[in-house]
């Protein structure tokens, strides 16, 4: 489903990802852990085409993100190519990023209507189902600013799912929430993860949550994968010193 091949990402002089190789199978749920600044967000942003690789390639479903075929030459991807790939990917951000100029329902329907051409009534029906699922059926006409952080993040999750992505990217989606709101959002994501065949890439510092939802954990440090394995193994018997230190630090926090 997703393949990183010798991906390098630099911001100026700063090398964030160093020849990164990994792949994720369809339906696989992978959690990325690692200290702050190790490049986890950058990986998700590259996939979402919010950043471009410096070198190397990223494939999604066999299609290269950065280039496309024209005749038998490879040329840089144009907007149409990017949009075709983005269609498969959804993302939920740490800061929710709901659109403040629209009510909750409109936040969810805008993309299906404008980008997929779904008729508005149909999109609204679907949006109401999603709101039901995230426990906010009564908030459809509410303005986002009147919702708690946890509610806003649920709307953002519903908004991403409304596009029916094959891959969902979650970047520390509970980090900006008040502690008492975290578990509600996590429970929701756990349900979503176990319900379908969604491929999930999740960055989190909540190790219990990571253990619950993921098939695989990747431990990053300084733009490299230092450890890759099932959560039971990584969390209970990490092979690397760096992973042990990191897990200890997270536990202490």
């Amino acid at each position: 489903m997703i393949r990183f091949d010798k991906v390098v990402k630099r911001f100026g002089d700063l090398t964030v990802l160093r020849e990164l190789d990994f792949h994720v199978r369809p339906g696989e749920r992978v959690t990325l852990i690692g200290p702050s600044g190790s490049g986890k967000t950058t990986i998700l942003r590259l996939l979402m085409t919010l950043e471009r690789v410096t070198s190397g390639t990223i494939d999604v479903d066999g299609q290269c993100l950065s280039h496309m075929k024209r005749g038998d030459r490879l040329v840089p991807a144009d907007e149409r190519h990017l949009r075709r790939i983005r269609k498969k990917i959804g993302m939920v951000f740490q800061q929710f990023n709901l659109f403040p100029n629209m009510n909750v329902l409109r936040n969810i329907t805008e993309a299906p209507v404008r980008s997929l051409g779904v008729p508005r009534e149909q999109a609204e029906e679907k949006a109401r189902e999603l709101l039901e699922m995230v426990g906010l059926a009564d908030k459809a006409l509410e303005h986002p600013s009147r919702l708690s952080g946890g509610q806003q993040q649920r709307v953002a999750i519903a908004r991403a799912l409304a596009m029916e992505p094959e891959v969902l990217l979650l970047d520390e989606v509970t980090s900006a929430l008040d502690p008492e709101l975290v578990s509600g959002v996590q429970d929701l994501l756990r349900d979503i993860a176990h319900r379908g065949d969604l491929t999930l890439l999740c960055v989190t510092h909540e190790m219990r949550f990571a253990k619950d939802i993921s098939h695989r954990v990747l431990m990053f440090d300084q733009g490299r994968i230092v450890e890759d394995g099932p959560p039971e193994q990584i969390f209970s018997e990490p092979a690397h010193q760096r992973t042990r230190e990191f897990l200890q630090a997270v536990l202490d926090a």
């Binding site: 983005r86 959804g90 990023n97 403040p100 805008e110 980008s115 991403a160």
Partner: protein, 217 residues
């Protein structure tokens, strides 16, 4: 000089109907033009094509660096040479609109820049087409942020509109001058005209400040 109440009563209706009407037309016409044109200019200046963004930027810089009065003259006396025939008021509205578009475009630009990056990123992640990102996400937020500053420019256009009398538009001030010149007495008509600006501008400023506070978060 003693205030002549009888004469005041006599000229008041004319000032308030004819004069006022022209002032309001010039102000609203100029403002609408400035608000619409300014938005297009702001968008053109963001164009990735330098052959679009550069010239538009240069023209706006030029307009901002020369007096409105000069521009009014140019528009009034030069456009007819190119076969463009318009009333003086129409010309004045275009002059005001062009001049203030160079300012409102900067307001919109700041408003657009002020839309958080996360809004763009969420919209891209949702695969919204570029033009819809502008129309349904960025511009509504940018315009909302711009409203107080636009309100201030509306007031400025209102107060600068008497400059149109230089191209023979008879607005409330121009009319006051005409009335005054009949008797060589300007105290009453000019005072009435001035009061009229005061009566509109002060509540308008208060309203804009309220708006600023309401939107300012």
């Amino acid at each position: 000089m003693i205030w002549d109440w009888d004469w005041t009563r006599e000229i008041l209706p004319e000032l308030l109907t004819q004069g006022l009407l022209v002032t309001v037309q010039a102000t609203l016409g100029g403002a609408v033009l400035a608000f619409v044109l300014g938005l297009f200019v702001a968008l053109l200046r963001r164009s990735r094509n330098p052959f679009v963004s550069r010239p538009v930027g240069a023209v706006m810089e030029f307009i901002r660096s020369t007096p409105l009065l000069v521009q009014l003259f140019v528009v009034y006396y030069v456009l007819p040479d190119f076969g463009v025939k318009m009333t003086a008021l129409m010309t004045g509205i275009i002059g005001l609109g062009l001049h203030y578009a160079s300012y409102t475009s900067e307001v919109y630009r700041a408003g657009i820049d002020g839309v958080p990056k996360g809004q763009w990123e969420a919209a891209i992640a949702l695969n919204l087409p570029r033009h819809w990102i502008w129309i349904s996400v960025v511009l509504p937020q940018a315009v909302r942020r711009s409203l107080p500053a636009l309100g201030n420019y509306l007031i400025a256009i209102f107060k600068e509109s008497p400059q149109l009398s230089i191209i023979t538009v008879v607005d409330v001030v121009g009319l006051a001058r005409e009335l005054g010149s009949e008797r060589f007495r300007y105290l009453e008509p000019m005072t009435v005209a001035g009061l009229f600006f005061l009566l509109v501008a002060i509540p308008a400023s208060i309203f804009v400040r309220r708006l600023e506070r309401r939107l300012g978060n």
